[in-house]
């Protein structure tokens, strides 16, 4: 049975915070992230005929990912750079000492994410930050699960190295 328009809208609305987090993870900039989410919503609403119940999360994330890739291609031509630490986000949510800690964590995380290649950043955003399964992430990115796990492994190593100074080694 088709979902009602109100139901679909509320389902999409419920995804917005996660989409913003994904968008911020991959773009690193508040304004770019919200532009990306806005474009994602508009494109999704124009193409609701492609909506398949049960796949809406990955469908919306796929739209966001594709728009991000398109935007990066365009930006690359302008030699745009991924750098922006935005204190405003943290300031708005926390006060005092907690705000300072959160701000520092955010800055470190943002700086570390910015060193990752885009393909690794997207996988990290989907699996480690959003908590998607490997299968869903593979679906969003249109790659095999093996590609997800290998990108994830490389991204993890880089991030842990940047944030904690080293990666724990296995003896074998």
């Amino acid at each position: 049975m088709d979902a009602s328009l109100d139901t679909i809208r509320s389902q999409i609305a419920a995804l917005v915070p996660r989409l913003r987090r994904f968008a911020l993870s991959v773009t690193g900039k508040r304004a770019d992230a919200d532009d990306l989410v806005q474009d994602t919503l508009e494109r999704a609403l124009r193409h609701l005929d492609q909506w398949e119940p049960g796949t809406r999360d990955s469908w919306m994330f796929r739209i966001a990912q594709n728009l991000f890739i398109d935007a990066k291609r365009a930006a690359r031509r302008r030699r745009a750079v991924f750098v922006d630490t935005e204190a405003t986000m943290v300031d708005a949510a926390y006060d005092g000492e907690r705000a300072v800690e959160a701000l520092m964590a955010w800055r470190e995380t943002c700086a570390a994410l910015s060193t990752l290649p885009e393909d690794q950043r997207s996988v990290i955003a989907l699996v480690l930050i959003d908590g998607m399964t490997y299968r869903d992430a593979a679906d969003v990115l249109g790659v095999p699960i093996g590609t997800v796990t290998s990108r994830l492994a490389r991204g993890r190593e880089t991030l842990a190295g940047k944030i904690f100074g080293s990666t724990a080694e296995l003896h074998q």
Partner: protein, 256 residues
């Protein structure tokens, strides 16, 4: 059981942290963490990484959604192919000078293809012709022919809103159809003895609006209102003009 167990490597531990292992493998790795300090250190570092990422983005998740991201979700129902009918109406209006109207009218049914796919069967008040024209039928056609805006329409499934003369010289009326689960708003113009539907917007009703009666026209979707604005010549009919149009069988410009 003595089956070969796959070697535990970094990828296995990643999958453990990500909850991607089968339940028996999860148990096996969890047990090994007590024996292998290096496994434990690696898993702890990955849990710390996940935690750091969660903490970093927590303020964003706690933020209210900016208005500009809520706006697309409040806009004109997306299942209205607005660009389609706007473009089409533009052509229609530009034709009206030179082409015999009755012959050139091709009205489109503008119904959401996606979410309202099944609603087509719930639109018993219209029928589609092979040429794409959509005509009102049954109760709706009856209401368009007979019902006046000023009449008591409270219990009617088909309610009439405004009536007006189109720039092409046709009598047109807006309507609302309240089905069991679907409400449709539309505008139809009388041509060739039928009411041709120029635009139709369907929405599923929630339980909450079942009780709320809204004046016909008051809840007219933007797309229908815009269609009216595109079509209308002058002002909507007043009660006397509406009655006169009915008495003239909605003959439009041909009315004496």
């Amino acid at each position: 059981m003595s089956g070969e167990r796959p070697e535990i490597n970094r990828e296995t531990l990643d999958a453990y942290v990500d909850g991607e292992l089968a339940p028996d493998e999860m148990t096996r790795v969890a047990a090994l963490l007590g024996e292998r300090a290096d496994f434990k250190a690696y898993v702890d570092s990955q849990l710390a990484l996940r935690n750091r990422l969660a903490v970093s983005f927590a303020p964003l998740m706690a933020e209210p959604i900016p208005d500009r991201l809520q706006r697309p979700l409040r806009a004109t129902p997306p299942h209205l192919r607005v660009t389609f009918w706007r473009r089409w109406l533009g052509e229609f209006i530009s034709w009206r000078g030179g082409v015999p109207l009755a012959a050139s009218l091709v009205f489109g049914l503008i119904v959401g293809v996606a979410i309202e796919r099944s609603a087509r069967t719930e639109l018993p008040f219209v029928r589609s012709l092979q040429n794409g024209q959509v005509l009102a039928q049954g109760e709706l056609a009856g209401a368009l022919n007979q019902q006046l805006e000023s009449s008591d329409q409270y219990d009617q499934r088909a309610r009439i809103g405004i009536s007006f003369r189109s720039r092409a010289g046709l009598d047109c009326r807006t309507f609302e159809w309240r089905g069991t689960t679907t409400t449709a708003n539309g505008v139809a113009c009388h041509t060739g003895g039928d009411w041709a539907v120029a635009a139709l917007a369907t929405t599923r009703r929630t339980v909450n609006d079942q009780a709320a009666y809204q004046m016909a026209g008051a809840a007219m979707p933007d797309a229908i209102r815009n269609t009216v604005n595109e079509l209308i010549a002058g002002l909507p009919y007043d009660a006397a003009a509406e009655r006169a149009a009915r008495e003239a069988h909605w003959s439009g410009a041909k009315r004496p």
